[in-house]
């Protein structure tokens, strides 16, 4: 032990152990920091993903965030429901802007609750109009029926909302609804990452929009096309309207006015009670 070489060797080893220990401690501390950072990032990501789901359907979010970050465009059979408020723009000119926005927001909240209850989702809000899709996100063999049942309940809900508006001496709302079904292309579209969104495109969208426009011509509130009519049974009371030529179509379009359903509130619409309580909750 008196050999200075041994002493220095031992000292060097001890110093090395001390250094290694210090490095290990630092690394452990950093690893913990990184783990915490990862946890926080994961929670932020999860929060963002949940917020994102308010704007994009959940399964599209899953596909976008789960791996490749792409949503492959697909052809899907879907039913489109266009609803547009009549005379709301003129009404806005007369109302306080804050009141007009409140009226519109409440209308959208109620319509959204109805549409969701009937297996649809609102894809787009444009001004005072909305586009709802049925069957665009998941296989739905009853999409035509769902869209018409949703429209009938939208009509009933609008009547309830108008009663409330009347009681507050506010102007009542009127809408026109057009429904059409067909094959569309569903995908994430837009002008660059910031403006991209999940939507559908194709001729059936234009037709649904035109059919909604025809509600003013026929002076009714709810029209469907032959494609949608073929999915309904005799429970639905329909009235055939005169065929009318519309922009972009060679043949005149035959539409049907949906008057009512023979047993709304019973077996045809099992969601009625639940829907009302859902709307109450939402509003």
């Amino acid at each position: 032990m008196r050999d200075p070489t041994v002493f220095w060797l031992l000292a060097a080893m001890l110093a090395l152990i001390a250094v290694l220990g210090a490095v290990a401690l630092v690394l452990r501390h950093r690893a913990r920091q990184l783990q915490r950072l990862l946890q926080v990032s994961q929670e932020k990501l999860e929060h963002l993903q949940r917020q994102f789901e308010h704007f994009v359907p959940a399964d599209v979010v899953e596909q976008l965030t789960g791996g490749h970050g792409i949503f492959a465009p697909q052809r899907r059979a879907a039913t489109m429901l266009f609803a547009d408020l009549r005379g709301f723009t003129a009404m806005c000119d007369r109302l306080d802007p804050a009141v007009a926005v409140d009226i519109l927001n409440e209308y959208f909240r109620r319509m959204n609750a109805v549409i969701t209850c009937h297996h649809g989702h609102i894809n787009e809000l444009v001004g005072d109009g909305l586009l709802a899709l049925f069957g665009a996100l998941e296989h739905n063999p009853w999409q035509g029926r769902d869209a018409v049942l949703a429209a009938l309940e939208m009509r009933a809900e609008l009547a309830r909302y108008n009663e409330e508006l009347r009681a507050k001496s506010l102007p009542e709302l009127r809408f026109g609804i057009g429904i059409h079904g067909g094959e569309v292309v569903a995908g994430v579209m837009g002008a660059g990452a910031a403006l991209n969104k999940f939507t559908v495109t194709g001729d059936p969208i234009n037709v649904a929009s035109r059919v909604e426009g025809l509600t003013s011509v026929h002076k009714v509130d709810l029209l469907i096309t032959e494609e949608v009519r073929s999915t309904l049974d005799d429970q639905f009371r329909l009235r055939r309207m005169p065929a009318i030529q519309v922009k972009g179509k060679l043949e005149p379009i035959v539409t049907y006015y949906v008057e009512d359903i023979s047993s709304l509130g019973s077996s045809a619409s099992p969601t009625q009670g639940a829907f009302e309580s859902h709307v109450d909750k939402v509003t």
Binding site: L38, P141, W142, L232, D233, S269, G273, H278
Partner: protein, 360 residues
């Protein structure tokens, strides 16, 4: 994305507790304790039996660890507050850390899992969600990763049975086992967990027999159940399907139609063919079946039973709070006994069709 425990909206219980001391004593003997679900489904002999068989099942072909994780993930994916909370608490008792459970719930890529385990979790989520519906290729992908075919069949069965139990919990809006959750998540839980694990390992619940393929094929949806041949769990499915279709609370025709509607909603041809066979045996012509599936109505059904057809499709893809409201409305219209039976059939249809999807 699947919801976390505290994000799930949960309504008031739809069905009351039923007092049946003989049944509760039997459950205690077989499982060790009586759950809130056991008490609320006690009025239906087949629904309650399937619940107990499922809870007491022990895996034979897949690792217990994956079995536990699978039950948690399936409950989370189905947004069943009751099952999710109970499974989470159970995992804590089994010794899984909060951090590990949290990572599984968040589907975090840095969880301490290997590729096979991650693939299994992804399979659980995909089959439970069925949006889009999984296929035979998904089953084969797990086999290609190195899982034994029997193990994958047991996984699929676990998820399908999970879908059954989760729907029972959701559709009756069963109050969560908060006392158990509190104990498992608290200091006391950590303290007594080793003791509880020891007690649980000593208690060996009776397991169902392994039935041969011929026995499994006999009865409703025989071709689907036969795919589980070699697993004792197949007997649970056989018991469930036989019990459901033998029960007299609802007519056989409405139950077959409910299965057909779930099959149509999920786009499963195999299940629809099986349901059509049952409907044909109840004197439904092909046109009548087509019409019923197109319109969700049938002149063969009473006013009460007609309500179940549009309702059952809401049990496939749902928002928990909304389907509970719809079921509560149904219960006020048709009464507790028919509602419980309908819930059992809807839950079983969802389980059976999910299993069948992997055959095509």
């Amino acid at each position: 994305m699947a919801q976390l425990l505290d994000e799930i909206e949960w309504g008031q219980a739809i069905l009351p507790r039923v007092s049946d001391s003989a049944w509760e004593a039997e459950v205690k003997r077989r499982v060790g304790q009586v759950s809130e679900v056991d008490r609320r489904v006690a009025a239906s002999t087949w629904v309650r039996e399937v619940c107990v068989l499922m809870i007491s099942y022990r895996p034979v072909a897949m690792p217990q660890r994956l079995f536990n994780i699978g039950a948690l993930v399936t409950a989370q994916e189905n947004s069943c507050r009751y099952c999710y909370g109970a499974n989470r608490a159970y995992m804590k008792i089994l010794g899984y850390s909060e951090a590990f459970i949290r990572r599984i719930e968040q589907d975090a890529t840095f969880a301490e899992l290997d590729d096979k385990e991650r693939a299994f979790i992804s399979f659980c989520r995909s089959l439970a969600r069925s949006r889009p519906r999984p296929m035979k290729a998904d089953y084969e992908a797990l086999v290609a990763l190195g899982f034994a075919p029997l193990a994958v069949s047991e996984m699929a069965m676990l998820i399908a049975l999970g879908c059954y139990y989760n729907r029972i919990g959701i559709l009756i809006a069963c109050p969560p086992e908060l006392a158990f959750e509190r104990v498992a998540n608290g200091f006391l839980g950590r303290l007594v967990a080793p003791l509880m694990r020891m007690v649980m390992s000593m208690h060996k619940p009776p397991q169902p027999p392994t039935l041969d393929a011929a026995t499994l094929t006999t009865g409703p949806f025989g071709t689907v159940v036969a795919a589980l041949a070699g697993l004792p769990g197949a007997a649970i499915f056989r018991t469930a399907l036989d019990g459901a279709f033998a029960s007299a609370v609802l007519p056989r025709s409405v139950k077959a139609l409910m299965f057909a509607v779930v099959a149509r909603t999920l786009g499963c041809r195999t299940s629809e063919i099986e349901a059509r066979k049952l409907l044909a045996a109840e004197d439904f012509s092909n046109d009548e079946i087509d019409s019923a599936l197109l319109t969700l109505r049938s002149p063969h059904l009473s006013q009460r039973d007609a309500r179940l057809i549009p309702w059952v499709r809401n049990t496939v893809y749902y928002q928990t709070a909304m389907v509970q409201q719809q079921t509560a409305t149904l219960a006020t219209e048709i009464g507790d006994a028919a509602t419980l039976e309908a819930i059992g059939v809807a839950a079983l249809a969802n389980a059976t069709v999910r299993l069948a999807m992997l055959l095509e």
